[in-house]
């Protein structure tokens, strides 16, 4: 399988493989950290840090632990959350705006005019409040199922099935 090979080459410090993986995921990583820090420049820097870190920690990844994307997504969320906890960051953004990913996506004018982009924009504007909240917490903020259930005051199982439905809608739009 191609991805598996790519990851394997990446773990062998193959620059070409790394560049490919970067091309596949860097926008997502940037989107996730931006959604947390809400600052383009900081997000730029964090995204770079995330990939550099992935490069150095490449040998710690194992497909047994999960998907490569999931692995790097975790690194990104942790880095971004660490950043928001830093003193300098807190001082610089006392009133961090509370936009969710939906607001960010909906307010973008500069999305490339691909069908994906249009689909996603349509998706988020049509998305129910519960869906927005679940996706925000599980994918952007890295909440566990349990944490999300407490945050949204929903039963554990409901989080799971609702999330499944929401992602299903997204797939219908973009895939």
């Amino acid at each position: 399988m191609e991805l598996e090979l790519l990851v394997k080459q990446f773990q062998d410090k193959n620059h070409v493989a790394f560049e490919k993986l970067y091309g596949m995921y860097h926008k997502s990583i940037h989107g996730v950290v931006y959604n947390i820090v809400k600052d383009t420049a900081i997000a730029d820097e964090l995204m770079q840090d995330v990939f550099i870190k992935a490069w150095h920690k490449a040998d710690t990844y194992s497909s047994k632990k999960g998907r490569f994307f999931t692995w790097i997504l975790n690194i990104a969320r942790n880095a971004a959350i660490d950043k928001t906890r830093s003193k300098a960051f807190k001082q610089s953004r006392k009133n961090l705006n509370t936009d969710y990913f939906v607001d960010i996506i909906a307010s973008h004018d500069n999305l490339d005019n691909s069908t994906d982009a249009i689909g996603i924009k349509t998706f988020v504007t049509q998305l129910g409040e519960k869906c927005k909240a679940v996706i925000e917490l599980l994918y952007f903020k890295g909440f566990t199922q349990k944490e999300a259930s407490e945050e949204l005051q929903m039963p554990l199982g409901t989080i799971k099935t609702r999330n499944r439905n929401c992602i299903q809608q997204l797939r219908d739009m973009v895939l």
Binding site: G31, Y34, Q48, K65, L111, F123, I135, L138, R164
Partner: protein, 264 residues
């Protein structure tokens, strides 16, 4: 195992989100290996999430931005290059030093010139004063010349008397305005405590009338003195008298005497 029920449970979405316990992750990994349709499902979920998260990025930099950082890290031994002489920097500094020196020099020149200008101004003023003085002198001299040339003037030479034969004087008498101009150039300076006294004389009988003493004789430059004379003088004489003058002339000290030539 019911594959569809497993898919519908939503566990795979959580798997992609990455917050399942490690044991569960490994379990799923094994199932993905066994059931390609599960892997397909996971890939679809992942693909959708990748697109969604990417859409939340206002912009993202290309690989080039990170490649530079990686390359910098990869080249572990950084060769120390001999420092290149930075000619641009040096010439820059040299130019600015030259410029600064030039400015200082110019400022100095300027203050020197200002000082010279001031000196020239003072000299100018001094010269102007001299010219002014010369003009005044010239005017005075012209005035004197005019007086002497006047048709109405009677010139009376006063000759030296007795032991004072070397002395002489001249009187220019303007009857019209009752003034005499005495030219005392031929008289010595009056000794201390003494003063020249001018007399108007009538001859028959000999009657002297004092026309006054010349107190500033020694200090006067041109030795020409203007004296009022309303008398019908027939002669003029000058005697050396004690300071303050005398009522009548001391004849032993009569230095010069001249008779008015009435015929002229």
């Amino acid at each position: 195992m019911d594959i569809n029920a497993y898919i519908e449970s939503g566990i795979l979405e959580l798997y992609v989100a990455g917050k399942l316990p490690e044991t569960e992750n490994e379990e799923i990994y094994q199932r993905l290996k066994q059931h390609p349709e599960l892997l397909q499902e996971v890939e679809a979920i992942e693909s959708a999430v990748v697109k969604l998260t990417a859409a939340a990025s206002p912009r993202a930099k290309g690989y080039a931005s990170i490649k530079a950082r990686l390359n910098a890290e990869d080249s572990k031994v950084v060769e120390l290059q001999p420092r290149k002489t930075n000619w641009i920097s040096y010439t820059g500094w040299a130019a600015s030093i030259l410029l600064a020196a030039g400015l200082v020099w110019t400022l100095n020149q300027n203050s020197d010139l200002e000082q010279e200008l001031q000196t020239a101004d003072i000299e100018n003023q001094y010269l102007e004063t001299q010219i002014e003085d010369a003009r005044t002198d010239l005017a005075a001299t012209k005035n004197l010349l005019d007086v002497i040339r006047d048709r109405e003037i009677i010139a009376v030479p006063l000759g030296g008397q007795g032991e004072f034969a070397t002395s002489f004087a001249k009187v220019y008498w303007n009857k019209a305005n009752n003034t005499i101009y005495l030219d005392g150039e031929g008289l010595p300076s009056a000794p201390e405590g003494k003063v020249w006294q001018v007399w108007s004389l009538t001859l028959n009988p000999l009657t002297p009338t004092s026309l006054g003493t010349i107190d500033d004789f020694n200090t006067d430059d041109n030795k020409i003195f203007t004296i009022a004379n309303t008398n019908e003088s027939q002669a003029f004489g000058i005697t050396l008298e004690p300071e303050g003058g005398s009522v009548s002339p001391t004849m032993e000290q009569l230095y010069t005497l001249g008779v008015v030539n009435t015929e002229s």
